[in-house]
Amino acid sequence: MNSTELELLQIIADMNASPEGAYNIRANGQLADRHVTENIDIRTKTDSPGIDIIIKPETKGETVHIPVIISETGLNDLVYNDFIIGENADVTIVAGCGIHNCGEKESRHDGIHTFFVGKNAKVKYIEKHYGEGDGNGENNMNPTTVINIAEGGYMEMDTAQIKGIDSTKRVTKARLSDGAALVIRERIMTHGRQTAETDFTVDLDGKNSGANVISRSVARDNSYQRFFSKINGNNLCSGHTECDAIIMDNAKVSAIPEIAANSIDASLIHEAAIGKIAGDQLIKLMTLGLTEKQAEEQIINGFLK
């Protein structure tokens, strides 16, 4: 792997060339490196591009890294990754996609991730999207995440897209059984003329299931963001969705949270707020010696942390 690719790896997955635990590195549409462990198997799919990540029941405290990096211009990469997480497992999965596009053509990665979280299993899923490049080629990513959580299962999803992705449409769908819980934290920052659309649908099918979907975003320059979330409460359940956006310059943000109760015992809340940085926040930090620009950066960094 060259230094650009290693750098991308570090940014999106916080990892060096050979991390601890199981991993699968995909570079420019090809398998670059793979390591499996006794409890975690990674297999190349035979019917479509992508991999199956199979985690044995009762696997505790292990981590899987599955980064994707693209450093060729004009590459159009599509993968289907399935995660099968056994009962009572407790694992962390780090995914991410980094594009370094120096050319003039569009580089694109579309990942379709499907999770099957077993009974009483616990998963922390961390996903980062990052793009860079000195050319005019566009970096586009369209991640789709499908989540199925069995009885008593728990999944936490942290997803971030901080820089350099020109266009993204992110779709997340989740279905929860009895006693299952899902927490999604999304952080997005768009610059220039970037567009980011995000679309969450959560079906709370199970009794005592619960979901919390939190999105924080910053839209700068002439960028555009659209946030859509829908939580369907189909049983005794609790759901909360929150979209909080800071708008700057000439950016545009639209937030469409929807909650639908299909059961008398569903308890659902949505909150959405869009606004510029509060003047008194800037003033406070300026009285600590920061310039207006520095104050702005601190507020944004904190907000997206």
Partner: protein, 245 residues
Amino acid sequence: MLELKNISFSAENETGEKEILKNINLKIDDSFVVITGPNGGGKSTLAKIIAGIITPVSGQILLDGEDITNLSITERAKKGISFAFQQPVHFKGLTVYDLIGLAAGKEIGINEACDYLSQVGLCARDYINREVNSSLSGGELKRIEIATVLARSSKVSIFDEPEAGIDLWSFGNLIQVFEKMHKSSGGTIIIISHQERILNIADRIVVLGGGELRATGTKEEILPELLGTVDSGCKILADSAKEAK
């Protein structure tokens, strides 16, 4: 030394232009100064003018002889002016540790940050990683606000009604904080307050009412008259109260 020369300020309201400060002249030396007076008398406005948050209509502000009237909030902060807000600002995502670190202006360890929090009577470990938002109570936010000023070594530290929102139990503790600050910083501490216990530790009391400087002097000179207001009718405040109407 901080010097205010002919400071005036007015603001628009429904009934037209209202004079909030009228020709204030004040010299503040290295000392512990308490600005007091009735509500609406212009105290907070004066404090904000010193910090650069509000620009006066006319007049001059000098810090150690240097004219800082046209300096920005940031430039004044860098010259050593600190300001603790009466109503602390909320920050989504910034933690107490972040804020104290920014105030210190350098990388500080958890222990150092905790030390500032302990000084304002907060059990530091419980707070250090909390977000500075509405999950904290008014009193907690207020103390964190004061801690951010402690973390800066300032020439002039201004506290706008530090007692507001702080319970009686912690208040004694807070007075000790101010006393300690006074001794260690060697700078000027300006507190806007109505609290007798704060007035009692002042080297100098400034009474502001109806936008005018009513009186200035040592606590021995000012305090008996202020505290006697209710019984004897303090002339200074009686006049201010009349004008405030």
